[in-house]
Symmetry: C2
């Protein structure tokens, strides 16, 4: 793997979809050719903004959310390094949500033309992008199930395990330990809970010796126990393994 | 518009993305070349099924849902004629949800190859498919916001208005009147409510002279009032209007 590959969370995320030729890595590299640095809690785009650019997260944590007229907020997702944000907005009249940085971040804007040309130039790039979009949709489905039908305890456990799996794929989780700079207000707004309720749930998970979230760090003490509680199966997060995958 | 077009809900849905040439209509027509009829409440695919076919709904109402280990059910969406179900599952190891008919339906299986070849053959077909996928994602985002942060009254109003807009696009709604063969159990499982709670909400909406749902038929009495209550803006459901849309 060349220089482009080693330093790119996108290539790390897509690694299992290879083998990748040098020219394919170059096409993937084009997605990251432009860079923009932003501080924490900076708006990247707002709901309804029309844009011809999506964003590849290169480093840092970000958040996608929708504000409600009553001041409420629903967090849709926490895009991580290697995730591409705003693809669906390219093909609608505007973005369906707002996008901001939670920590200092580095982002690569990807124009619609770059995205479509990259996919046109390499069927491996095309299938990686299709997988990425399909996976984001699967994550959204699980999020809806979480909020609609799982108990506060189950949904919080499910959320933490999903983060762990996503971070492992990009090398940012190790033996159940990972940094998680999402404060409890944002997390509550993802889970459809109040911050007070979430705080109680986190205490319950800690006292059951399953997982501790403290000072921006998560320690999973009992992975199997947490998995059983959440009835979690992370297959929807992993690169496809089946034969004949298009 | 030729014969293919007149009878196809897919072409009706995509009409505003035209003008369509005869050869493009033929490519779209290929998505509907195979037909399968099913009775009501028949399984089409189950969660985790690996498949190389998506399904175009030609007629009837269908439902996409996920079952929980405790017997709960979260309805993800109610695909209508012109909707394509299961595209994301083509690019993952398997389906993220189960898919069944709610009424007698006619479906067209679309193989991955047909879908990708159709998009390759015509940039107009490709952009129509991209829009369809992006719109499904936008619908999913609104659904998450509904369940996570909107009151039971607002989310039910929002759901009914969304159905009205989607049905209007395919010519199945007229002046606020439409058939809606979704019973209150399925609807409650979409909205993250109990059937009893939903029943109370529907009575409240009826008594406020906003909307009546009775015997499988919806009558919107006060469209503006219902829209104000839901803070509904249906732009995410309509074909893009912006210039330079890819």
């Amino acid at each position: 793997m060349n220089d482009v590959g080693c330093h790119s969370p996108l290539v790390r995320k897509f690694q299992a979809l290879g083998p990748w030729t040098d020219s394919e890595l170059l096409a993937l590299g084009s997605f990251g050719s432009r860079r923009r640095r932003l501080g924490a809690h900076q708006a990247i785009f707002h709901e309804r903004d029309a844009s011809d650019e999506a964003y590849l997260v290169q480093s840092g944590w970000t958040c996608v959310y929708k504000l409600l007229p009553d001041g409420g907020r629903q967090v849709i997702s926490f895009p991580l390094p290697g995730d591409i944000v705003g693809i669906s907005g390219l093909f609608l009249d505007g973005a369906q949500f707002s996008f901001e940085s939670l920590t200092p971040v580095e982002l690569s804007p990807i124009s619609t033309a770059t995205l479509l040309n990259g996919a046109m130039a390499s069927s491996n790039v095309a299938r990686a992008v299709r997988w990425s979009v399909a996976r984001d949709s699967a994550i959204l489905v699980e999020h809806l199930v979480n909020v609609g039908r799982r108990s506060a305890l189950m949904r919080t456990a499910h959320f933490i395990l999903e983060l762990a799996h996503r971070l492992r794929l990009i090398g940012a989780e190790r033996a159940g330990e990972f940094a998680c700079p999402v404060n409890q207000y944002w997390m509550a707004d993802a889970l459809g809970l109040t911050a007070i309720h979430l705080n109680r749930v986190l205490r319950e998970l800690r006292e059951a010796h399953l997982v501790t979230l403290r000072a921006g760090h998560v320690s999973i003490h009992d992975y199997e126990g947490l998995k059983d509680l959440a009835v979690f199966d992370g297959d929807y997060l992993s690169p496809p393994k089946r034969v004949g995958w298009p």
